[in-house]
Amino acid sequence: MYLDLELTESEKMLKRTALDFMRREVPNEIIKTLLETDTGYTEELWRNIVEMGWPGIIVPEQYSGEEYTLTSAGVLLEALGSGPLPGPYFSSAILGSLIVMEAGAEEQKQEILPAVAEGEKILTLALTEPEYSWEPDAVQTNAANENGDFILNGLKLFTLEAEAATHFIVVARTQNNTDPARGISLFLVDSQCDGLTVRRVPGFLSGRSFEVKLNNVKVPGSALLGEKDVGWDNLQRAINKAIPILCAYKVGGAQAVLEMALKYSRSRVQFGRPIGRFQLVQDMIIEMVNHVDAARWTTYEALWKLDTQRPSEESVHLAKAVTSTAYWEVCTLAHQVFSGVSYSEEHAVSFHTRTSRHLYNFLGDPSYHRQKLGQLLVPL
């Protein structure tokens, strides 16, 4: 039988190394501080991450990357999610790399990917706008061709990690077409460009989510990633690969929260016994375990399908719908198990609660993916 659900030896080692890294370099006090900052990282922490080779985890070797499988990247992200590690790691190393790998022309890959793998360039996707949606018809930001340059105008909203990013991947319309997915192009835009302004959207649960204004931002023709007008398909391919890796990050978070709740319910005594002895508490624990296990296995199957070039569309929607819900619910249940003590800003459960909320809609929320899944299951 081919069925083999164990991690490979190198994946096990990667997991151990990453969990160890989290314990050593990113303890709770650091996470709490980082969650408050606009970038979510410190120079020192980013240097350490670069030393581990992680920014290039999925970048092909020919572009100075590690060329790991998506499953291995999932294993790493699961470990990083246990903190959770804040900052632009996913935005740049996973989603950013994938978009450049899918969309970039050869010389762009040669220029951009090594810089991402070395941690010198930090990328983030600027796609969604005030009409918040992950569908192409919501893209209204315009890129006008002017003597070989492009002039970008528009407003990107709820862009993650905009303060940390050195470059944005801006999704913009270069042609009006009856098919909204046609006529969209991707641009690599330096965050220091004239006319580009960034403002963090305040909100305890909103994470590092930003408003990015593009006011006559002029970029050279070489900023166009790949071909003009066909950016949407490339973007979708990249997002589909990135989604289950993001899911793995959430699985790691949910697993960590579950373990905290298990430990607490064994040791917290009320009415003269550990609260885990109460069946009403057990019920919540079981619900948490079910969420975590549903998230874990839908996620890893989607990664396996992507790595083995199997049809994966349904699995990706499934994983994202299940996992985003799972992370959210597990955190809420944990607050119920912990009660008052978990309301502290310093309590690790609260880090995950904030993360589960601010990532809930990112790359499509559960209802979006359920809708997509429904359309695939029963074409009407």
Partner: protein, 406 residues
Amino acid sequence: MNFSLDYTEEQEQFAKEVRAWLDENIPEDLIPVRDTRKMSIEQWEKRREFTRRLGKKGWLYPRYPTEYGGGGLDMDFHFVILEELGKKGMALPPLYDMGILCAPAVLACGTEEQKKRILPRIFKGEALTWQLFTEPEAGTDAANQQTNALRSVREKDHFIINGQKIFTGSFPSKPEQLYVLTRSDLDAPRHQNLTSFVIPADLPGITVQPLDLFILTTFPAATGPTGANMEGVKHTVFFDDVKVPESCMIGKEGEGWKVTIATLDVEHSGGFGGATGNFVVEEFLSQCRNNPNILMRLRENPQLLDSVVEIYIGEQIERLWTLRNAGGMGGPYAGPQLALFEKMFGKRLAPLMAKVLGPYTFADDEQWGMGNGIFEVGQRCAVALAPGGTPEALKIGISRALAVGR
């Protein structure tokens, strides 16, 4: 990782052998196990014959040791047998047989003599076994046995059994063998007062009576989507001064709970049946895609698609946890977790399907009803939570395995 259930070359070779054998040995006109509406005594007899043939071949209990009449195969080949039987509309076992629960107990706790005497008859499909744990006063509290098995005063190497068991067996099968839990000591503390037996079903003093339940037709098993054990009607069994020789006692006197645990671990572990999906859900999806009446409902109200998705998600989780358990990657709680999920998913299925399919869901009718397990789901949601342990009992098992419970 590899989630693939495709056959390896070795498995493909074996599958050819299995397919050829099945073509030769499946009795003519045998209806698929899912087609519960057409179940009849004649059909049951055919399944019984087919069960014997499978047993003789060693494929009824493929993974048990050959020295006791099992197949001696590993999981790779067991899986092929399940798959190929499934393609023919059959399941393993093809009829209600709680030998699947009795055999592990005998293997774990029986003497060598008992293993040689009892196991081959189970494995060869010669002795259909019923499990008799539940009593009117021993439901979820299975240790609260009131059926007494007391040493005979005149013949010290015999026990006399008196009491009543309930919710066991199936129609129209008659058991050849009973796997019974009893109270053998009226004074010993709880859990130390029990003794297990495997006895012939035709001993004097044993009366089997069908129960008048509101599930008058047949319905699929609660314990997994394989379609095995589909016959529905349950029985009560009375013991009036039933004399049983000591050689029928499994394990030591007073250690019946230990034997029972060996069974419950298997019973609460879920099967391998959902590894390739849930046939009821597959049938449901096919109705959604192909039945014009249902397509019309979905087009009129596309919101119903979310219920389709809800069902699909449940199926996928069930499938993936089955793979996880089969792949040995589940924790100590994984068995009861899967069993619990199957039950709770079964419970949710009926209202979700009714929402999408409308009243067609419940019609048991050649023209307007839906086959392949759909109409049974309506009944299943109401009555299938208890067999094999209530959800609450399973939750207690999960909690203990997670070291939060007692």
